[in-house]
Amino acid sequence: MVSLARKSPEERLTICRKYYLGGFAFLPLLWLINFIWFFRQAFKVEPYPQQAEIRKYVIRSAIGTVIWCIIIIAWNIIFQQLRTRMGPVGDYLTFVVPRGYY
C-alpha cells in the first residue's frame, strides 16, 4: 500500500473518492479499507483544504460498512434459524449440504 503522506492532497482525495464510489458495487470491504486507510488523513493530521471532503467520504464509508455488517449478521442468523423451515429454498441456498441431518 502506498504511503499517503507522499501523495499530494489532490491525489489523496481522488483515491478516497474512488474507494468510496467503488464500495457501492456491493463491496463493503472496500469501504472498510477506505475508512481504516484514510482515518488518519481525515481526522488526525494538520488540516488542509481537501480534508473536509475526505472526511465526508470516510464517514460515509464507515456508515456503509456498519449497515453491511448488520445485513450480513442478520441474514446469517435468519438463515441458520430458518433453513430447515424454508424447505427447498433452504436447500438450494445451502452451499455445503449437511450430511445426516435435516
Binding site: P88, D91, T94, V97, R99, G100, Y102
Partner: protein
Amino acid sequence: MHLLFLLASLYLQNVFVFCSQPKRVVDQMYISFDHARYCVRRLNGTHEIGCQSAIRGNSGRMFMIDNDEEFNSYLNDNKTMNSFNAFIIVLNVNLFDSNHIDRLMKRLDTKLNGLLLYLKSKSARPLDFSPDDQCPNHRNSFYLNQTTETINWNRHGTGLFFRSFPFPIMLIEGEDDYQRLLKFYQQFNNSQSTPACGLELKTFQSAAHTTKTCMRRNDISHSIIDFQETFCDPIGGLNIYSKLPQSITIVPDQRPLKSVILILASTDSFQMFLETKRPTGGSQQPATALITFLALAHLIGQEQDELKKQNKEIIFVTLDGDAMDYSASYKFMFDMKNGDFPLGNKNEQPIETKHIHSIIEFQSLSMNSELWLHSYPSKLIDQKFIDSLIKNNRKINKIPIGTPLPPASSQIFLQQTSSSFPAYILASINQSQILNHYYHSFFDDSSTLSINISTLEYNTTTQVSQWIKQIVEPFAQTLIEWLVDVNKTVHIKQEIINNLVYCILKNMNCPLIHNVTNQSVGNTFQPFDQTSMPFSINTYPTSITPTFPFIQYVLGYFLRDRSFDLQNLTETSCKKRADNDSFCSYTFVDGYLPSRNSNNTLSSGYCVRSYLRSVQSISPAFIIPNYDLSKTEYPTWTESRWTTISLRLFLIPTRTHEIVTFIIGMMLTVISFFFLCFLRYYTKVSLLQPSSS
C-alpha cells in the same frame, strides 16, 4: 567431536526403532469387532426409519443386560445411572422388542447413546423374531380403504424395523465375539474403582428427514465443487420376465383376450441388521418360493411340446422390491398400463389388463406339512383349477372364501386393475398367520429349512429339495391338466432341485450358472464366491447382487426353445443370430446336463434361444416427472448411503487416573521448557545457526 556424537546418537536411534515392534497407539487402545451387523437409515415420503450414529461415532459406558431380571434391576439402579453421562447398552437379542426398548429409552432418555445386541450362541436364538409389522405392508395394501377386518398375519412382528431411533444399533452374532466381549466386561466391570468398559458404535448415515428432502439434495450440485454427492438411493432392483420363445405375438397378430397367465415370485426380503458380503437370511421368504418357481419354469420348459397344444401364454415374473410396500408390483402395473409390458421390441403386441387370464404367486414357503391356496375374487376364480390342484397335492388346503389375502404382490395387481382377473397365492400362510417365525429377519436362514449350510454339497438331496419336488410336480401337472386338458404325470430330476437349493442358499457362483451362461458372464460371478442368500433390500444399480443375473440366465435357459438346441450352431453363428433377432436372446453355452433331453448327443456347446426381459423395479414415484414425493399414492422408499461402520471396545479410566495423567502431562511440558532453556543457555552448538567451532 560434536558431529561424531550426533551421528552416534542417530545410529542408536535407528537401531532402537528397528528393534522395537512398530505398533500404533490407537491399535493398543481399541479392540474392534469386525463382523458386527448394523441398522441403517431408510426414508419414505413422510418419515425416516432405522438408526444412525454421530459422524464420529457414539460412545458410552458399556452395560450388559442378559435377561429380564437384570433388565429390571438395571432400570432401578440409580447409582449406576447417575455415575455416567452416556451408556451403550449391550442387550440379549431375546429382549429386543418394543416393550423393553421403550422402557429403556424412557428411563435413560438422552443418556442412551447406543444399543448393541448379542446372540449368545447359534442355539440360543429366539423362538420368534421379526422386526416387521404385525400386518406387513399395511401402508399400501389392497384393503387400505376397505372395511375388511385387518388380520395380524405376522403375529410376532415387533414393528421395530419401521421405527426411527436417535442412536445406533448393532448386533454381534458370532459366539467368539460374544465371549470376547463378555471376558472384557467381566474383567473390568466388577467394582467402581477399576476402569470401566466403553463401547464406540459408528454407523453414520448420509440421508436425513424424508425421501423428498434427500432426493432433492441428491440433485443439488454447485459448479464450483466438481463432484455431486449422493445421499440416498431409491429402493428397487430388477423385475425379470421370461416365457417360452415360441409364444411371441408380433404385430399385426392380435393377442386374444384372457390369454396370459402370470406366475410371480419375489426376489427380495429385508433385515433390520445387515452386513455387506455376509449371509442375509431370506430362506423361507423368498428363497424357497423362488426355487419352487424356477423348478416350475423348468417343468414348463420340459413339457413345452404339450403346452403348444393350447393358446395360453405362461409368463414367469420375478419382482424385486415388494418387501417394502410392494414398489416392484406398482412398477410392473405402471409399465403395463403405459404399454411397456413386455419391454423391448415395439413390434411385439403389448399385454394389457384385459389380456390377463389369471395370476399365480408363490409366497413365503416354509417346508411345513401343509400349504394353503389363497384366491380372490370369488366370482372369477376357476374352481376347476383349485379342485385339480388339491386333488393332485394333498398338502394343499383351500382357504375359505371371504378371508382377506395375505401380504403378497397379487394385492397390488388386483388393486391396480380393480380385480379384473383371479389371483391364486400358494403360501405357507394359513387363514390367520404366516408360519415363518423369522419373517423378514436375518434369522430366516437355511437352518430353518433343516440345512447345515457348511456341509451342503452341490448335489445333496435335502429334506427341502424333496419337499419342493413334492410341491412342484403336482403343480405343473395341474397346470397342464387345466390348460391342455390332458392327464400327464410329470417328473423333474431331483438333481435339478438339489442344484438350485445349493446355488440359491449357499453359493450363486455354482456349476449351474457356469453351465447356462457363456464364460464372460460366468466370470462375473467369481467375486460372489461364498456370498450366500443375497436377499436384502436392493438399490440397483448402485449395489450389485448376483441374484439378478442368476435368475435371468437360469430362467432363460429353463424356458429355452428346446427344438432350437438341435440346430448345432457354432458360436459365431449364434452371435449372428443374436444380432439379427430383437425378440429373443441367444447364448452359446456348455449346457446343463440334467436339463437336456435324454436323446441329445453330447456336443461341446450349443446355442440357446430364449425370451428374456428385465426392467428396473424402482417405484413409479421416481419415474413420473415432477412427482411430489410426499404423496402416498406410490411407495417412495430410499436407503441412505454410508461409508464407515465400526464397533470398538475401549477402557474408560477412573477419575483419579485421568487427573494423574493430566498432571504428569502438564509437569512434563513445564520441565521440558526449563530443560530446553537450560540447554540453550549452556551449549554453544546450535543446529539452526552455523557452528562457530
